[in-house]
Symmetry: C2
């Protein structure tokens, strides 16, 4: 695996790969890699002739009171994991390489960016959209792989790639979970033993929502109430939001029916904020709903 | 010359040209073509193996009280001019093709966008940056040609292409003028006969600035005063701004010295607003200043 630190070198590497008709699969990460990231890499490895991952703790997507400085940095073990997973190129620039002095251009995806995660984390999605746009322009992938855990992020990046006429297809991959249901996240390492036990409450609340939908409940408010009731059972948790939204517009829905919806959760456990979601889609050829945790 | 109306067709055309190792030169326009545009096309024709022009009256760069609806549209004669100038492909999409329903992603170039033209025309540069970013992604040019008359626009687009790691080189071409000095502009057709005569005041004011700089005046305020005095001689004109700024930062300067500066004018003549500029650069190997009108 080649490790590349500079933009010109990465661009040249990408240019050569494209000139040789390689299909480039790209997995942008903030490092602190876990099985969720590795599942994206395995998917890219299976589908593309060249696999590039990036590790960049992007300062513009962290708010002033967020965890930029203490975000877990585990570069050496990340490199070993990527190498084992068959990554060809790791792009690992420093902040000055991506945001040199005088930098001042941002990508803004309106409307979807201001709700839910965007309301709780102002400027977050502007930072995400900007760095991903830059990384796409540098790495020149045909396919980019993202986990469904960050559902709103993925939707915003899909909107951006369409709106800006980019030639990248976003591949959305399933959420990877611990045996007890906790969605994998680099932030799980922040949790104390008690918080870690309590953190399964997100999955349990989404399980309850899934049960409701499967038994025919279509009223979003009713499902939302059950989710909030389950979350309230865990005294260590503090709910940021628990909403049921259209999977395309991210606007709240009242009835679950013809279009896919997400049940989206953001929950504080002590100083750690976790997100998770359930995708509910109409099943083909039946009135039933398909639930994906 | 092939005329292309849709994004997918234009992208495919560009993809094929790049696959055949063509060098694509691109001239984005709002139509209503004049000798200024044609000088850009001739330059592209001399430097590139494929020349693509676009005609798109971009709604997002016009303010609510601006001249979008009455902007001159002369498609048939534009086509003849482009054909004569040797353009290979004209990309002429309609507004829905560029901004389909649900569109919501914008490129924002901070700081430089809020001064001068950006202050007088809020949102203007956001619209320009967004459409040019989209057009670059669709047409995939290695070189793009712009006139120096829109100096601030060119600077913003240079900032954007650098910040977003785009592989496009911007080529800035001289201002083309009428025999009496008026800079060519599609908006000149709005002028009444009296206003047309009065419009030479911009060039005369810049000439006065140029004379001052050539005779050794380095004090920006002194030159600015002379420019404003000349502009005031023309009773049909109303000055929007007359400023001397650093050619890179577009911040006002006090002394003209080691770095290039622009003398920038925006002047109303009746309902028509015209812009023009003078570039002052330190001459190589001497203390003298080089002035480009």
């Amino acid at each position: 695996m080649e490790i590349i630190r500079t933009v010109p070198w990465m661009k040249e590497k990408a240019r050569l790969a494209r000139a040789e008709n390689h299909v480039i699969g790209f997995i942008p990460t903030l490092g602190a890699l876990h099985e969720g990231h590795l599942s994206l890499i395995r998917r890219a490895r299976a589908e593309c002739s060249r696999v590039c991952a990036s590790i960049f703790v992007n300062p513009t997507q962290f708010g002033p009171n967020e965890d930029l400085s203490k975000y877990p940095r585990t570069f050496e073990s990340d490199v070993k994991k990527l190498e084992s997973a068959g990554v060809d190129v790791l792009f690992a620039p420093d902040a000055k390489e991506i945001y040199p002095a005088g930098f001042g251009t941002y990508a803004e995806v309106e409307s979807i960016s201001n709700r839910l995660e965007g309301r709780s984390r102002p400027g977050h999605f502007r930072g995400v959209a900007t760095v991903v746009l830059k990384l796409f322009n540098i790495v020149q992938p045909q396919f980019a792989y993202f986990g469904r855990k960050d559902a709103q992020q993925v939707r915003i990046l899909q909107q951006m790639t369409g709106d800006l006429n980019l030639d990248v297809e976003l591949v959305v991959c399933p959420i990877v979970r611990e045996p007890d249901g906790l969605a994998l996240s680099s932030r799980n390492v922040y949790l104390s033993a008690d918080e870690r036990r309590a953190a399964t409450i997100l999955h349990r609340a989404l399980e309850a929502a899934s049960q409701q939908a499967k038994t025919g409940v279509r009223d979003a408010a009713q499902i939302q109430q059950i989710v909030i009731r389950v979350l309230a059972e865990e005294k260590l948790s503090r709910v940021d939001y628990a909403e049921i939204v259209d999977a395309e517009t991210f606007e709240p829905v009242t009835v679950i029916g013809a279009r896919p919806v997400y049940v989206l959760l953001a929950v504080h456990l002590g100083k750690t904020r976790l997100i998770d979601n359930l995708l509910i889609e109409p099943a083909q050829d039946s009135g039933a709903l398909k639930c994906s945790l």
